[in-house]
């Protein structure tokens, strides 16, 4: 999705303004170093100010060139893109929320099965079989070989008997 320079510029300026606002709120904490005018607040001030300035310039540019507020320019059509976006966000959210409860093997298997089924389109049986293999490989690589503490969850008794 391509937005007008005015829109993305305004967003940049807003980020600058947010930095400025956060600075004012935190000004008591971000005091300069002793006997100095410079301190932990100096760089945020500069960066925030420049973001406001550059964002403002982009807003002016976008308004002058009368670009449309928003249009679809990707090579990919809007529908598959938004569906994928939703799928990726949902997968990450599901992983973060469900892994501590159900454990990595179950969550990874279910997510991968769904994604393989949706994107590879070769039926459930093959999707689930591939997911089992993939989950096992990732588990072996990260949990066994690299000692990343992936949650065994419900399968704890099975994996570490």
């Amino acid at each position: 999705m391509r937005t007008s320079d005015a829109v993305s510029g305004a967003m940049a300026a807003a980020l600058g303004a947010a930095l400025g606002a956060a600075l004012i709120v935190a000004s008591a904490d971000l005091s300069p170093l002793p006997r100095q005018v410079y301190g932990a607040g100096t760089f945020p001030k500069v960066v925030g100010g420049l973001l406001l300035l550059m964002g403002g310039l982009m807003v002016i540019k976008g308004l002058r060139q009368r670009q449309p507020w928003c249009r679809w320019t990707s090579k990919v059509a809007a529908r598959p893109f938004l569906l994928t976006l939703a799928a990726v966000v949902a997968s990450v959210v599901a992983y973060v929320w469900l892994t501590p409860v159900l454990g990595f093997p179950i969550v990874a298997f279910v997510l991968l099965s769904l994604l393989f089924r949706a994107y590879h389109r070769r039926g459930w049986a093959r999707a689930m079989l591939t997911a089992v293999l993939a989950t096992a490989v990732i588990w072996l690589l990260f949990a066994q070989l690299l000692h990343v503490p992936l949650e065994p969850g419900l399968l704890e008794q099975v994996l570490y008997p």
């Binding site: 999705m1 391509r2 937005t3 993305s8 510029g9 940049a12 980020l15 600058g16 930095l19 956060a22 904490d29 005091s31 170093l33 006997r35 100095q36 005018v37 410079y38 301190g39 932990a40 100096t42 760089f43 945020p44 960066v47 925030g48 420049l50 973001l51 550059m54 964002g55 310039l57 982009m58 540019k61 320019t73 990707s74 990919v76 598959p80 893109f81 994928t84 976006l85 799928a87 990726v88 966000v89 997968s91 990450v92 992983y95 973060v96 892994t99 501590p100 991968l112 994604l115 393989f116 994107y119 590879h120 389109r121 993939a134 990732i138 990260f142 690299l146 000692h147 990343v148 503490p149």
Partner: protein
């Protein structure tokens, strides 16, 4: 001499060699699949390198990227789809050669010249980096401040497109880098009371988000559709490869040297090196009219240049700790987490390690030859890997990889957030290079500024009262003048369109 022997002993251990071969195969795979870039390969490797010693960690990244850039040529010649942006400039040329039945020749030249370019790059790196490091030993925080600022400014200048967008991208990177505890005063900034942010936002989830999730979101929608044309290269020999390479040996040398220099510029990496080298080779050629019709001359220079650029990028990275491209930005991050701060001191204190890194470079580049030819032979099988399986698998790797840096789910959120930001920025032509460089250089700029200001007791003129600092300051001002001039009198020139095609590829 003893250092060289030590270095050889460090490199020739089965563990290091195994890592080099495995990482090369991984890079080969990532580079050959369109949509997966060398930077993405590096980002996915980092979680694994966290558990290695410094040398194997660097060896893994060096060999994976070198191989990925070469493997990127394969789908370019077979399907007209460059595997990585660095191959985009000559994908058409190689494809046309393939149509004329010169597929073996085109890809053979790619592999051979990449190896030669890579070796030229390593030679320059090994020859000049220690000299520059000796010189850099006298640098103080003043010089480092200007150097880091200069690097950041160059990144905007060479990113192409709208400099205003490059600058905003850089500022966003600086803003992200400021979160957490300030390194000089120890004051806590912008954490909004979240204790996960106290130590700042870590590099790995940022990298995976920006370079892997962003690419995934752009490629996944088309997964499983099209692109699965299984065009196996016909049984073609590699006849004429050596002859053609020898015929354009000047082009190889020029591409290698030019690529190394461009790679050494902060922000300019393999893709820009191959664009410029191709353009120059066309300008100097005796038969420029043949370019674009399946002529090997441009292929020779550009293939040599993009691999040489990989080595060139390590010059500023190792000598000053200022990354030359996104991959070395990652390397600096990896080294820092291992307690090694890249800079001139590394050359004096860890001479053996530096020499071992050079050796690894040579090995990785020599390995390009057998693995590259093997990849060409197996290209059909490589390209028919179902993307509908591959991309979901990469997503799972990203999640586990982001988690593994600090074993924290918070980092998984950071990864997702930056992936979404990255897609929005890419779609709107904001370059991502300045953002990641700013994220790494931001703390360096700030801490050196504060250190200098403390030394001089708040006197700003101290920043320019040493000759080298003054020169660097002058250069930084010059670059900013160019950026501003570029923004004010910007014409929709060839440079911008070139980088746009590169970004799309």
């Amino acid at each position: 001499m003893t250092e060289l022997l030590q270095a050889t002993a460090m490199v020739f251990q089965w563990e290091v060699i195994l890592v080099i071969v495995a990482a090369s195969l991984f890079g080969l795979f990532m580079g050959a699949i369109p949509g997966l870039t060398a930077t993405m390969a590096t980002a996915l490797l980092v979680p694994v390198t966290f558990f290695m010693d410094p040398l194997p960690a660097i060896a893994a990244i060096v060999s994976a990227t070198a191989m990925a850039i070469v493997a990127g040529d394969i789908p370019g010649a077979l399907l007209r789809m460059p595997g990585t942006p660095a191959s985009a400039v000559y994908a058409d040329e190689a494809f046309l050669m393939g149509k004329r039945g010169q597929l073996g020749l085109a890809l053979g030249i790619n592999v051979t010249c990449s190896m030669l370019g890579g070796v030229i790059g390593v030679a320059v790196l090994a020859l000049f980096a220690p000299r520059i490091a000796e010189f850099a030993l006298e640098f103080t925080s003043d010089e480092y401040f200007w150097l880091a600022l200069l690097g950041l400014s160059c990144a905007i200048l060479v990113a192409g497109g709208d400099p205003l967008k490059g600058a905003i991208s850089m500022l966003i990177g600086l803003a992200i880098a400021m979160v957490g505890m300030d390194s000089v005063s120890g004051q806590v900034r912008f954490t909004l009371g979240n204790y996960n942010l106290l130590a700042g936002i870590s590099l790995l989830p940022v990298l995976i988000g920006l370079f892997a999730i962003t690419e995934l979101l752009r490629s996944l929608p088309t997964a499983g559709r099209g692109a699965s044309r299984k065009e196996t290269p016909r049984r073609e020999g590699f006849g004429g490869v050596a002859g053609t390479t020898w015929r354009y040996k000047g082009g190889v040398a020029r591409g290698g040297l030019l690529g190394t220099m461009i790679g050494a510029l902060p922000g300019a990496g393999a893709d820009i090196a191959s664009w410029i080298s191709y353009a120059i080779s066309r300008k100097l050629s005796r038969e420029p009219q043949k370019y674009g019709t399946g002529h090997p001359e441009g292929l020779v220079s550009a293939s040599a240049a993009n691999n040489a650029a990989l080595s060139g990028a390590y010059i500023p990275a190792l000598v000053f700790g200022i990354p030359g491209d996104t991959v070395t930005a990652i390397i600096i991050g990896v080294l820092t987490t291992k307690g090694i701060t890249p800079g001139p001191d590394v050359f004096t204190e860890q001479g053996a390690l530096v020499n071992a890194i050079f050796l690894v470079f040579v090995l990785a580049n020599l390995l390009l030859l057998p693995l590259g030819f093997m990849a060409i032979k197996g290209a059909g099988r490589l390209l028919s890997v179902p993307t509908g399986v591959l991309y979901p698998l990469i997503l799972m790797f990203c999640i586990v990889g982001a988690f593994s840096a600090n074993n924290s789910m918070f980092d998984v959120w950071v990864m997702l957030g930056l992936g979404l930001v990255g897609v929005f920025l890419m779609e709107n032509d904001f370059p991502l290079g300045p953002l990641i460089l700013a994220f790494i250089l931001g703390p360096i700029i700030e801490s050196n500024f504060m250190r200098s200001i403390l030394k001089s007791d708040g006197d700003l003129t101290a920043f320019v009262d040493r000759p080298i600092a003054m020169v660097l300051a002058g250069l930084a001002i010059l670059v900013w003048t160019l950026i501003i001039a570029n923004g004010v009198w910007k014409r929709p020139g060839r440079r911008a369109s070139a980088s746009e095609t590169a970004a799309e590829a």
